[in-house]
């Protein structure tokens, strides 16, 4: 029951994040320099992949996965791209 309730949470996190659209330019200021939107999305993707790995290991979902490197890489990429599409996409 716990596994079933947690699994969709990982995927919908990106949707939730996209939902709270932050108004403004697709460029972020950090200590006087501007960083592009895709860099932030990439960071989010990496963070998503790492946290999914942690969540899946803790919940045991990881055990039924195979080709784990590619799976987590793809999940990270999907999160990053969805974030970009929902947040900055046309």
């Amino acid at each position: 029951m716990l596994r079933l309730s947690i699994r969709p949470f990982g995927i919908s996190s990106a949707l939730l994040l996209g939902g709270c659209t932050v108004q403004g330019a697709p460029s972020f200021s950090l200590v006087g320099a501007y960083f592009p939107d895709w860099m932030l999305c990439g960071m989010i993707g990496i963070a998503a992949a790492v946290s999914l790995r942690v969540v899946f290991v803790l919940t045991g979902v990881d055990a039924i996965l195979s080709l784990r490197l590619f799976t987590y890489l793809s999940l990270g990429v999907i999160t990053a791209l969805l974030t970009w599409l929902l947040w900055f996409g046309p």
Partner: protein, 349 residues
């Protein structure tokens, strides 16, 4: 915690992996197409037209009512040069014009005198003709009388001499009449001199007007660093006026995404002065040319071709000019960083 085996191969696991990988690839292709269809740039800049304020005449700066960073309206006085030398030049030109006008009057009088002289010479010629006719008739009359010796031969001889005299007088008077007619002349040279003096006066007045410089457009005074007393050479720039009537954003867009842009497209521009306020604009034009290192070289020289074997070529970017709709003036500063989204973004919904 249970140790997770890395070598597990279950059909469910493979299916999940396949779905994730295909999903990532599909999404990647979709996103890259979206990115090409809706170009954006985060290296744009806010742009405006500038006027380098200078006067066509030189002189000492005597009045400077504007200060740096001040907003001015079209027609406002920006600065004034010492008008005295130009006023003196105007006075001189006025005097020259008066001289030329007086010369025209003089020439008119001379013309009247010469015309009268010519009339006199014409009358003289008529008189000489009458005298000559009389002398000729006298000779005609006396000729038969002298042949029959009714009159002394001497008398006939005198009449012939008188006729000869009259012929010479007639010829001379004709020449004099012609000369007098030619000598009348006309006013052309003095009128031309008057026109030249008038042109000089207009020029001097124009130069005098140029000592006052007014704003050619609404704008902001920038890079003004001098005060009254400065001496300016003709055409020397005193400061730069940033025109405030139209603002633009200039964004460099890669050539592969240029086909997606047409003039008139809506654009969302963010001035990084406030990255939360979208500015609406429209694509006005796309740059027709940029200089590239490959085409660098001296004019008329041989082409400069480096020896290289590049397999990856970075896409050329062209400046796209976006005209901004009227916006908060605090966000519009020439050279400010701008983020540009063409055909999408908050201002284009």
């Amino acid at each position: 915690m249970k140790k997770v085996s890395l070598s597990t191969t279950s059909p469910i696991g493979l299916a999940i992996a396949a779905v994730c990988i295909l999903g990532a690839i599909g999404l990647g292709v979709y996103v890259s197409r979206q990115d090409s269809a809706y170009p954006s740039s985060d290296s744009g800049s806010i742009d405006a037209e500038v006027v380098h304020m200078a006067s066509t005449v030189g002189g000492r700066l005597i009045a400077l009512p504007v200060h740096v960073n001040q907003a001015v309206k079209k027609g406002d006085l920006l600065y004034r040069l010492d008008p005295e030398p130009y006023e003196l030049a105007v006075h001189q030109a006025e005097a020259n014009l008066a001289l030329a006008a007086a010369e025209v009057e003089n020439q008119k009088r001379l013309l009247a005198v010469k015309t009268a002289n010519a009339a006199v010479a014409e009358d003289q010629a008529t008189r000489a003709q009458t005298n000559h006719d009389l002398a000729a008739r006298t000779v005609e009359r006396l000729k038969p009388l002298a042949g029959h010796a009714y009159i002394p031969w001497q008398q006939y001889d005198q009449a012939r001499v008188a006729l000869n005299d009259a012929a010479i007088s007639l010829s001379q008077s004709h020449q004099q009449a012609d000369a007098a007619q030619i000598a009348i002349g006309d006013l052309k040279s003095s009128l031309a001199a008057q026109q030249a003096a008038q042109a000089m006066l207009d020029q001097a007045r124009y130069a005098l007007r140029q000592t006052t410089v007014v704003a050619p457009t609404d704008g902001y005074v920038t890079s003004l660093r001098v005060k009254e007393g400065e001496i300016l050479a003709p055409s020397q720039v005193l400061f730069t006026l940033i025109a405030n009537d139209a603002w633009y954003a200039s964004a460099n867009i890669r050539e592969i995404t240029l086909p997606a842009i047409t003039p008139g497209d809506c654009a969302t521009v963010y001035s990084m002065i406030d990255r939360r306020t979208p500015l609406r604009g429209h694509v006005e034009s796309i740059g027709w040319g940029v200089a590239s290192l490959e085409s660098a070289g001296l004019a008329r020289g041989l082409p400069l071709v480096p020896r290289e074997m590049d397999w990856v070529h970075v896409a050329q970017r062209f400046p796209v000019r976006i005209r901004l709709d009227p916006a908060d003036p605090r966000l519009l500063r020439l050279g400010a960083t701008a983020t540009v989204e063409i055909r999408h973004g908050e201002a284009c919904h």
